[in-house]
Amino acid sequence: MVAPLNADQPAAAGAAPLQALVERARALSEDVQLEAVRAWKAAHPGRIAVGSLPVWAPRELIHAAGGLPVGVRGGGDGVEVVRGDAYFQSYICQLPRSTLELALDGSYDCLDGVIFPSTCDVIRNLSGMWQLLLPGKYVRYLDVPQSLREDLGGRFLEHELRTLRDELGQLAGAPISDDALRASIAAYDAHRRAIEDVYALRAATPWLAPSWELYLVLRAGDVLPVEEHTAMLREYRELAAASGRPMEDQARVVLTGAFCERPPLGLIQTVERSGCAIVDDDLALGLRFIRGDVAPPPDEDPLAALARAFLARGRRCPTMFLPDDAGQAKGEALVEDARRAGAEGVIFAAASFCDPALLDQPMTAKAVEAAGLPSTSFKYAENTGQFQPIREQTGAFADAIKIWSDA
């Protein structure tokens, strides 16, 4: 591949607005103390803000209650953890430590409640710790079904969602109407499409939408109202597409395993600078957990539609069990995603001590290998500060891919 002649030229007219947008996203993604949420609540008196932990939670229901859904995703590398560490042994991942630190230092006081989805034992138990440490706060453990049959798991999930809907209605002071839920589902369908559009742009032309930028833009969605975040995503897509950034010859990779605890921004930058273009990933997977639209036909119950969409089109991430007749093992699904994104290799990046990701990895790695895709793996924590070994590893990986593809 040949770089365009204007490689050294700044990307013309679009640069300033793009930079401004990314800087805004950066500020929002670093807002682990939820200043933006406090500001939103001040501007919307009487309305609720409800947090949710990874991976998936029905943000549509919070939205339908007139509330602000907030992503509770730990403190990244921006929080000094003292009290959080006091409650966790060294063999437990980092996310609950910084999350608890923020809960105990009052950062989450602006949240009227928190939803803990059934992601793993640690997040499950964290729901109980929340009950013990923050009595009086609304806590909902959301058990999502591992039976994907509509008459079994679907029925159960519908009941769970109905309970949540009732409780959120009580919290907000008014029951959630079907119409409100429909409108919220529509808002989130638009949001999901906006995310997929950005992902599609990056998969096609990764040099136009580098992953570290996309990562910041996605993370801004933790604290922004969905409408604003959808607008930000669309604007980002347009600006990035028109940025005129020079094409780069990089190894195209999928980054997988990072669906819960988030790697620090520096890690994503390290991977990219070492010569890898990330063309698909499972970062912030909760935002795009359901593939496609949820909106039901007008005569159908919107809540049931949400439950059905989860069962039929929920991503098969390591927190989910796939029945024998699922048709496709998780490894095969990963290979298919990689192919679709035109990836030449897979990077397994799991958070240290992340049971779901690490226990899945040998299975998915086997499938990736069988498909002839090269792969490499490392572990990280949200506050990892050492990028040099990762730079060397992914750099060597990128070189190997390029040699292989040139051969």
């Binding site: 409650y87 640690v122 138990n125 009950q131 009941h159 390591p318």
Partner: protein, 432 residues
């Protein structure tokens, strides 16, 4: 996550009940070894949320990989098994039961009696109280290419069994589990047989509870943690609902009643325990690779464990639950939902505080195992809560289930000694 040490391991009480348990296990493993010839069907499943009565009603032989793993730990084989699994790409970070079991499979699947274990006809994934179970059987599915049947048991997040959760489990039993068992055995579900087994379960449960509660006496006639892992063996594994198990628990109860009558304390692998000096409640599973040494750190100091939560992972009978033959599937669902690690943290704190009170304990000791986040995540907070509510001191030690790399005897003993001496000091006051 659970216990049934074979008698190959140190036997705490060479009583008739112990002999019976030994014979039961030997017979069970012999039947498993013969399964390829006899054509008996084999189901792999987990201890918490096990459906033994239902399996028995189909004449299915259960295999419990957790117990194989802990046996491997006691037989000092776990180190090589874990290494084998890590060689195949498993992370050092994850559950060592899983790695130990996979390693055993990779090394020929030879069970604790030296016989090769039969391959599963079905992997019955009773997903109760632990996410790792799910991964475990996904991994085994790849190894054995066996059909897998998921029984998803929801978490008791609000400290009670909700009708929706019970209904969900019952419907899965009826529409997924029973048809799967019918498929592999070619037999129809026989509810009358199931009821019969459930009736025997309830009998045994009654006796077990009486045995566990005997520790309320001073001195306690049993050790409710190290000793009790042997007592819960049959009922947590392949025997709940059998006539053998009912007989075992009757016998055990009589033996313990006799110890009470004679005012005797527990028997340990090193002989009868000396005078009772400390009464502890223990939270968390034991370490299996140094089980005997671990126990000695307690009994040598006159510390008896009067109650433990680990002995409730396969059922919380002491809280009043009994299998009810009149509501066969509902009772199985309630059983699954009630297992200890399926309880919310506030409920677990309540249980511990109740034990502290009812068993007149001097303190709560937490053995936090690296492998088991289901148990371990939050234990430090639980400890603090129990201390706060009871005013009794808590102790905290760390080890692992079957990874000998994570059991530092010097370190563990150091903490146990310091903890017991602290209790002693506080008891004696400033003058000591």
């Amino acid at each position: 996550m659970t216990a049934t040490p074979l008698p190959a391991a140190p036997a705490p009480q060479k009583d008739r009940s112990q002999e019976r348990q030994k014979a039961m296990l030997a017979e069970h493993f012999a039947r498993l070894a013969a399964a390829p010839e006899t054509g008996a069907k084999v189901v792999y499943t987990f201890v918490p949320g096990n459906l033994t009565e239902l399996l028995l009603s189909f004449d299915i032989l259960p295999v419990l990989p957790e117990i194989n793993a802990l046996q491997s730990g006691m037989r000092q084989r776990s180190r090589e098994f874990i290494r084998e699994a890590e060689k195949r790409g498993h992370s050092e970070d994850v559950c060592t039961y899983v790695k130990c079991d996979l390693g055993m499979k990779l090394k020929g699947n030879v069970g604790p009696t030296g016989d090769r274990l039969p391959n599963p006809d079905l992997l019955l994934l009773s997903y109760t109280g632990c996410f790792t179970f799910m991964k475990w059987f996904e991994l085994l599915r790849e190894e054995y290419r066996a059909p897998t049947c998921m029984l998803h048991v929801p978490y008791q997040a609000d400290g009670k069994v909700t009708p929706s959760a019970r209904d969900y489990v019952v419907r899965q039993l009826r529409e997924e589990v029973i048809p799967a068992l019918e498929r592999i055995t070619g037999r129809a579900y026989d509810e009358d047989r199931l009821r019969e087994h459930l009736r025997r379960s309830a009998e045994a449960e009654e006796d077990l509870v009486r045995v566990l509660r005997s520790a309320r006496r001073r001195p306690s006639p049993i050790d409710g943690y190290f000793g009790a892992v042997y007592y819960v063996g049959p009922i947590f594994s392949s025997f709940r609902g059998t006539a053998d198990a009912a007989a075992y628990y009757r016998e055990l109860r009589e033996e313990v009643d006799e110890r009470v009558r004679l005012g005797l304390g527990p028997v340990t692998p090193d002989g009868p325990m000396g005078p009772e000096r400390f009464r502890l409640v223990v939270e968390g599973p034991p370490n299996w690779t140094s089980f005997r040494e671990f126990w000695r750190m307690f009994h040598a100091e006159g510390a008896v464990c009067v109650a433990s939560t680990y002995t409730k992972v396969g059922g919380t009978y002491d809280e009043g639950f009994r299998h009810d033959p009149d509501r066969p599937l509902e009772t199985l669902a309630e059983y699954c939902l009630g297992c200890y690690t399926n309880r919310s943290l506030p409920t677990r704190v309540d249980v511990l505080c109740r034990y502290m009170d009812e068993y007149e304990a001097d303190g709560l000791l937490v053995n936090s195992v690296k492998s088991c986040n289901s148990f371990s995540a939050g234990q430090l907070l639980m400890l603090r809560e129990v201390e706060r509510r009871t005013g009794k001191p808590g102790g905290f030690i760390e080890s692992d289930l079957v990874d000998p790399r994570y059991f530092s005897a010097a370190n563990v003993k150091n903490r146990i000694d310091a903890y017991l001496q602290m209790i002693e000091q506080r008891r004696r006051g400033a003058g000591a």
